[in-house]
Subunit: 346 residues, 2 copies
């Protein structure tokens, strides 16, 4: 019989609320014969204030025992900027070598977009997750003086770039339009840019059916608002991916529906799935948060584990739910979770 051994990290703010709904929908969609075991972990601001810890080696050992991880949100204004980001979120992505950061963007019928004319949006960004400007390389000298110098080093390796580029080509190959766009800034960041571009062109030879294009990151932000339909799969570096996926979320229905996966395709470590949004402390505890992004992250999680039919059932339920929202009063976090649970079970 099948089983899923899931680590649950509700985290801070609305993380608690949205993860509860994600789990509700997960339980509802899973076939009877699949045994779901969950263990909850207390990470984030509360733990940090209580113990000074963000993510210890023992924590990593414990998380490693699970098949997969579901995360709500981490971050709180009471913690200095960077502490939980570097000490938890990025530490986990790096420790578990989550090199494929998967962020689909699909504008579903009935969903509001800030763009005029309701364009067709259906693409997925494959963001590199373990290199680039996110490595924490760099430093500061003469801190706090008028002679301070601070550096940030973007580290890019052939190994790291090639594996994510190959993953992106395989995803493009599996989609009807079979198109892959490399987003970088190779006219200015020439060292990293040449590495990315050369590897992209080399791997392209293995995927003759995939149409390729290159776009500078600045121009990509223009296309994301003027012709988002031009994108199918995008592969890009860690920082550019961070930036363009927030924009992508904004134009394709907002951060309330943007899901993501931090994937280690080798299976050496559990992958982690999380909504793109943060902990939103301003609306936390009020039942106002939209759990849809978390529910869609659960769909990505299921697809990652091979439960394709169940993933599709969640996505269909979300589409139907979003279409029915038009003109209706706002529902609470649990109301949306309940409605989705009913749909996926039905």
């Amino acid at each position: 019989s099948r089983s899923i051994n899931l680590a649950v990290i509700p985290g801070d703010g609305i993380g608690q609320e949205v993860v509860a709904e994600g789990l509700k929908v997960l339980s509802a969609v899973l076939p009877q014969d699949v045994k779901l075991e969950t263990k909850e972990y207390d990470f984030g601001a509360r733990r940090y204030h209580a113990t000074g810890e963000t993510l210890t080696d023992a924590d990593l050992d414990a998380l490693k025992q699970h098949d997969v991880i579901l995360l709500g949100a981490i971050g709180d204004p009471s913690v200095p900027s960077g502490v939980l980001e570097r000490g938890f979120l990025l530490k986990l992505r790096f420790a578990f070598d989550h090199h494929v950061n998967l962020r689909p963007s699909k504008l579903l019928p009935g969903v509001a977009t800030p763009l005029a004319g309701q364009p067709e949006i259906d693409f997925v960004v494959v963001r590199e997750g373990t290199e680039g400007p996110y490595t924490g390389n760099g430093g500061t000298i003469r801190k706090g003086t008028e002679h301070e110098v601070a550096t940030e080093v973007s580290v890019n390796t052939a190994f790291g770039v090639e594996r994510v580029v190959r993953d992106a080509f395989a995803r493009a190959q599996a989609r009807p339009r079979k198109k892959l766009t490399l987003v970088h800034k190779n006219n200015v960041l020439t060292f990293a840019g040449h590495l990315w571009t050369n590897i992209f062109n080399k791997v392209a030879e293995e995927f003759p059916e995939v149409t390729t294009e290159y776009i500078h990151v600045d121009a990509a932000t223009i296309y994301l608002v003027t012709q988002p339909e031009r994108f199918d799969v995008i592969v890009t570096d860690n920082l550019f991916g961070d930036i363009i996926t927030d924009l992508a979320a904004a134009v394709s229905g907002g951060i309330g529906v943007a899901a993501s996966g931090n994937i280690n395709p080798t299976g050496a470590f559990p992958s982690m799935f999380e909504p793109v949004h943060g902990s939103a402390p301003d609306i936390a505890g009020q039942g106002k948060a939209d759990p849809t992004a978390t529910v869609l992250s659960v769909a990505l999680l299921l697809r990652h584990l091979g439960y394709e039919a169940e993933a599709a059932r969640i996505e269909d339920a979300v589409s139907a739910d979003l279409a029915e929202r038009v003109g209706q009063p706002a529902r609470s976090t649990t109301e949306i979770g309940d409605a989705l649970s009913v749909r996926v079970a039905g």
Copy 2:
């Protein structure tokens, strides 16, 4: 009697066409007593192919003799990516210490935007121009092998950050809304992020009337499409500024109307004004390019030299011209330039 000694760099592609119209409007708007001297320089793809040169020391010496520089566009697909960007555009910005890269965004009445609901957009981005990931620091080892490592080093100095932050505060102070937003990614790029944030907070004390806020660059792209009216003045690093100003141009009327100034406020070297758009080789030589971004760059140039009334006359002429475009057939590059010349003279 007054005079302007202008260096003109038409450059590649549509650069030639739009600069001609910019000069036409400049001549038309200047008072009789101002003597305009112009000298044209041949930089860009043609020169590079003929001589292998992009910008020599002698070129820099010659340009240095001018009060100010007007540039059309540099770049051509026949030149490898990075050669003209690093060898000309960035070389000039660094050599002349153009640390204030000024990019206003204003959605004028009648102008099309990809955003629904015609939001109010009127902000200016002060992009740092001489530091950050643009310095060319970094390198490559084991190039072309499976063990290649490429680095890009973002260099940030207290000196460089403070001068541009102070410039941005002064600009915010001079505007009715008096609001300044720092855009960075200080939760991940903690070394540079702390430097920027600390200096921003320190300089803020000198400008008690200015309201300040901090926004991560990823979130900033969301706000630029969902609530662009929240921005008044934005100060940011070189790369983040590159990215968000293209997005800002897209939402506020497109790259056809986006102007910029590469300013050295000390006057030690001439400042340079240029449209944000590139050389657009696909439409070059067809009279299709919109010279408006160049004409608005001429307005920034005039304001920089102290010709405030003339700058305002150009901006008013552009507003009126854009408002009259609605529903009209497209005009040629020269037709638009002629119309603007008539308006500013009248």
